[in-house]
Amino acid sequence: MIEIMFLFFYIGLFTIGGGMVAIPLIQQQIVERGLITEEFFHVIIAIAESTPGPIGINVATYVGYELYGIIGAILTTTSFILPSFLIVSLLAKIIIKYRNSLLVVFWFLYLKAAVIGLILYATVNIGLKVYIPNGIESFDLKVLGLTVVLALLFYLFRKKPIIVIIFGAILGMLFL
């Protein structure tokens, strides 16, 4: 349990630039350690995206509950939040002062690029499971068709992703 708390503390520390980064980090640290199956992790992500609240916290809470029940949920969520909270409350003034220094600017230039590489990793990982769950033969044209429809809906409702998620759920119930 303490190991899991440390793991989430660590993931919280490296979730730089928004909750989406938490997906590849949690995937690698939790799924590849065999703590949760990949299928179930994808269920967790689908639920985390379709419920209110920051996605990183939703995933942390869910994984904690699966592993150790309600106490686990509280502990993983707390240890996930703690690094943000500590760093920001202790270092806010320093960050405001130095955020335009040459070194910090370059750190974040490369950090943001790395984050994009990692989100791409999560996209490909989940995408592979969505389109070819059991090898090339399992490719389903219906899934591709739904993707086109949902992508068009996303283009229309970019500001309100929850609407697209509701459509995704409805279309999933109808066709998958």
């Binding site: 660590y10 919280g12 520390l13 490296f14 979730t15 730089i16 630039g17 909750g19 989406m20 690698q28 269920v43 689908a46 639920i47 995206e49 419920t51 609240g53 920051p54 916290i57 939703n58 809470t61 869910y62 509950y65 699966e66 949920a73 509280i74 969520t77 939040i81 690094p83 943000s84 909270f85 760093i87 920001v88 960050i95 955020r99 070194l103 370059f106 750190w107 974040f108 230039l109 490369y110 950090l111 690029a113 790395a114 994009i116 590489g117 990692l118 791409l120 990793y121 999560a122 490909v124 995408g127 899934v143 739904l146 993707t147 949902l150 996303f154 995704g168 759920a169 999933g172 998958l176």
Partner: protein
Amino acid sequence: MNSFSFYLKLCIIIFVEVDTMVSLIHIFITFFKIGLFTFGGGLAMIPIIKRDIVDKGWIEEEVLADYIAVAQVAPGMIAINIATLVGNHLRGRKGSLASVFGVALPSLIIITLIAMFSDAFLQIPLVVSALKGILIVVVILLAYAVYSLGIKAIKNFYLLFYAILVFVAVFFFNVSTILALLSAFVIGTIHAFILYRKRADQ
């Protein structure tokens, strides 16, 4: 007369302090609402924070803009970072505890409730189909994040090459994601140092 004006000043200070101080419960409730009504978290919170906090006169718009910039730069989730900064601005350490607790609590309650019943839920074929449909949307959202963040962040060929390198290392060679992020600090430091030396030479 002198002591009278002193007490008068003191009264005014106390009165104004109490009057401008936002109660902890108020902070907690406001951030609880923000946590409850934002899907996707992070930057999706900002319009709601503007409406609920700036319009109430709790914080000036420019200060909030500064905090949003810091929240994006600092480690950790943007939602938690903004909550910490705004809470701290309003009522110090206690205020930041109230706001962070408030913003995280809806997730904790909702997800725990769902997780408690998920074994039963996941037996229903219709729920499984719905989740499959949602996962397609998740892939679209992630792909769009790569695109929209990429357009802003990848400013030159080096950065594009580096982002692809990170993807290849993590996806094909199973390099740790944490290691990939740490490499950004190393390369960023080297690049900044080279630039600094160049400027010094000129």
